[in-house]
Amino acid sequence: MTTKLFGEPVRRREDVRLTTGRGRYLDDIGHTALAAAFVRSPHAHARIVDIDVEAALDVEGLVAIYTYEDLTGRMAEPLPVLIPHPQLHAPRTGYPLANGVVRHVGEPVAMVVATDRYIAEDVCDRIVVTYDELPVVVGVDAAVAAAATVHDDVPDNVSAHHLQETGDVEAALRGAENTLSFTQYVERSASTPMEGKGVHARWDADDKSLRVYSSTQASTSVRAAIAAKLELSLDRVEVIAPDVGGGFGVKIVHPWPEELLVPMAAIALGQEVKWSEDRREHFISAAHERQQKQEITVGFDDDGRITALDAHIWHDNGAYTPYGIIIPIITATQLVGPYVIPVYRARVESMYTNTVIVTPYRGAGRPQACYAMERTMDRIADKLGLDRAEVRRRNLIQPDQFPYDQQLIFQDGRPVIYDSGNYQGLLEKLTALVGWDDVAGLRADAESRGRLLGAGMALYVEGTGPGPYEGGHVQVLGSGKVLVSTGLTSQGQGHETAFAQIVATELGVPIEDVEVTTGDTRRFGYAVGTFASRAAVMSGNAIALAARGVREKALRIAADVLEADATDLEIDEGVVQVKGTPGTGVPLRTLAVLSNPLRYAFDEAAQQATQFAGPGDASLPPVAVGDAPGLEHIDYYSPVRSTFASGAHAVIVEIDPATWEIEIVKYAVVHDCGTMINPMIVEGQVHGGVAQGVGGALYERMAYDADGQLQNASFMDFLMPYASEVPAVVIDHQVTKSPLNPLGIKGAGEAGVIPGTAAIASAIEDATGRRIASMPISPTELYDLMRDENAERTARGTGVLT
């Protein structure tokens, strides 16, 4: 039993319950609750002519049916635009239930509440909705063409023109020794957590209070949204995120319509109501991400050094913009990566389409940004006949250039200033780890086996831990138990373990005594949420500060008791003692009792404490001015700006030139997230991210047809990888501490997914000699590409065909 656990691969405390079936996920709550189900639009764009519920009314077990007509007050208003931005000139959001028009397949039209989900679905089947279909817009190209519009009052389908620029890019391009331009596409994927969304609401009519459980990434914000929309006082609403079966971004959006409608029904009906999203609902009504069209023009000298970069991007934001233009901003600001770009301009047109809304999915615009920048590097190398690693090396920001100001404005409204990093180190470790210099030999060996082999790499810089803040509360109880809470939520990242490691180390207590709670507004009311790789950076540091506050107070009280100077004291194994004299000290639990002048001898701790209780100074109040009873402390961490993690991936693929199946034979990752709280957990995050990167590059896509119908709305045709499709990953770490926060940490949650599409596209291009300009790519697409006489070939393009 040690208390020095920071940085150790401590086994996860969550796993005890999660491996024995004792987790508590949303649908595990409230077996007696009524069940909600939704009638959702089968059309991508239509006017609702009539909703006929007649045939549904005699279904036994039906409790209530709600349509837009039943919404009152603020519930009848459009859903909020969470993150307004001056460049989001035409924000549009939907309603909790469709108000006259549906703009994507799956948009909720009616909510049914019944005694169980089976019956609720029976009722949905009997509700007849008559639609008058309208022209449909699918894909950025159709959106730009604007032959049809998603919103009548947005004739060009553009919700925002986002611009970031650091100088006169056109002049710089005119003056460049070399330039090249290209266009490429990325398709849609989605977070697709194994647990869908879900909401359970219980109204206490006597107490006039509402308790809501939601499978969310932002319980405090859901709480505020419910209070506002249902016009309740904030103190009457509590929201709890129970165990959450994965989020990856889709559960950060709030309020989802169901998060308002289910509590509304619970209040109206005076009964518990629960909605558990099923898989079909998740495909057609939860958020997607990634589709962009990118036009890149780059200027570079004869050595391959970039002199100017101009990126014009069209971003598909789906039918509504509740989450603003966060993804366009991130793509525009993260595109420059680890490189020196003397003059840069990014223009992102955020386009409306008649598809599910687009909000952050792990990586949030970064995979697309990395794809743009890294494929640019590949093309420069191809044009100049240089090694792709060498071209990158020549453009890297040098270690002595930090802090490095990219002169861009990040998602948090703060400047993009890289706080620290060692990109040379990354690249050196990566080329060694993957064996970059041995690729030629591997290629020859593969060709002798009748297979094509290629290698690719991609580097990234990831802004993590954006503010504005997170808070932490640490309290020592008379029992010796240490309660820790923070407002942001957990979806499997291991916060209970990582935060306990921080407190055990900071406070010098056994980790077994530490109990961590996240995402429960009853315990901590102020929080932002879990997204943008920010939990460890934000709550980790806040909790560390809170623990230090408790430590300081414990030492102060102990100093009195032990009649010693606080600076001579230490905490070891939960006991405060004079440095180097074990056995002479006072347990923290005793100090916890002493910290409260009101001390009934309810328990042993209190009885023990009395022996330490001095007479006190009768001339002073029992609780000193500025002090407070209890051995606890609340603190907040609020950074001036984000901290920038970095990494580099390399991949080697083998391709069967007969079936054009693509196999990843090696995947190497070098990762730098500053100080690691728990390397085991960090590696787990990398493994998971890489799997999603591979999925997004080779298997997953949301296949909408021109009519706005999602053609693969099931796990049969949306090809989330099984173990058989995910390669082994070799990982090396580099630790460049962040100077911005007390713990020196940077975010690690999203990194693994970012370079996958870029690196894999590069490797396939290297193996086939055909330009890969649209991702993801499947064997049939690769076959068609190889067959296409007009397909662009790379300089070393062999055009091998069998």
Binding site: E121, R279, W660, D717, Y722, E725, P779, T780, R787
Partner: protein, 290 residues
């Protein structure tokens, strides 16, 4: 995603099952493994009025392997057939194809005969039944009869069976002497239904020359397709036959459709590739079988 209401019966005998099917009429559906039917019910794409669960009917769960071939009962799970050594000896294609059916947990419940009665041209076992020139035994209130595969498969998920009927077994003729087989498919993910698949039977004459080549393909048509490719390699010595020629012949015989996962051209191309590869494997085996 919860099933619409239906009625349920689990008869204890075949006669009872047929009686219930007759009584319940056209809306009644036989439930065996249910690994295809249950998703259909939960997605509410199918809404039979009655499910007649034959899992309690005795005598339908045996695999009989004789010199003539392998008879597989209606309740034999994929995994049971996969593990049946005697069956694999008589007709090696059975295990080779079954190994490609979904994943183990599905194979523990799904049945071979059920997948055949389901008449899915992407199903491994429908193609094996076709390639081996097999048949099914069908019980109806008016008696029992055998139906050959050509008469059985009418279209995708469509058989010639109508009214109250239970497929009680499927019969796969034995692999002839001096013959070899192979099965291969290309799927997007391991365990997915194939983008394209091929099963072949190749037979040699006494002088180890190719005397017959037949192939069946998955996911290239609306019903299982069997093509005779003998002409491409007839009389050629097994060691020097040009399997690519057979692949080329096969490419010209199929008319696949495009879908989300493969273009028609790619499928046709794969027909050639898989034909060539499976024939090479089958030839190696044929060379070793007396």
């Amino acid at each position: 995603m919860k099933p619409a209401p239906f009625r349920y019966a689990d008869p204890g005998t075949l006669d009872e099952a047929l009686a219930v099917l007759s009584h319940e009429g056209a809306g009644a559906k036989v439930l065996a493994g249910g690994q295809s039917l249950l998703p259909l019910l939960s997605m509410r794409l199918a809404a039979p009025t009655t499910l007649v669960d034959i899992n309690r009917v005795p005598g339908l769960d045996t695999v009989e392997a004789t010199g003539d071939g392998v008879r597989v009962g209606a309740l034999v799970r994929h995994n049971a057939l996969l593990r049946d050594v005697a069956a694999a000896r008589v007709q090696p294609l059975l295990a080779r194809a079954t190994a490609n059916v979904a994943h183990p947990a599905i194979r523990n419940r799904g049945t071979t005969v059920g997948s055949i009665a389901h008449a899915d041209p992407s199903g491994e076992m429908t193609s094996v039944l076709a390639l081996t020139d097999g048949s099914v035994t069908v019980a109806t209130p008016s008696g029992t009869s055998d139906v050959g595969w050509r008469d059985l498969f009418v279209g995708p998920l469509e058989t010639s069976l109508h009214g109250p009927a239970v497929v009680t077994s499927a019969f796969f003729p034995a692999l002839p002497a001096r013959s070899g087989t192979a099965f291969a498919e290309v799927a997007r993910r391991k365990g997915d239904y194939a983008v394209c698949g091929a099963a072949v039977v190749l037979t040699l004459d006494d002088s180890r020359r190719v005397s017959s080549v037949r192939a069946a393909y998955l996911s290239v048509g609306l019903v299982p397709e069997v093509h005779d490719l003998t002409d491409a390699v007839a009389g050629k010595p097994v060691d020097s036959a040009d399997w690519a020629a057979a692949g080329a012949l096969a490419r010209g015989l199929v008319e696949p459709d495009s879908d989300l996962h493969a273009s028609a051209d790619y499928r046709r191309h794969l027909v050639g590739v898989l034909t060539e590869r499976t024939l090479a494997a089958a030839a190696a085996e044929a060379g070793t079988r007396r």
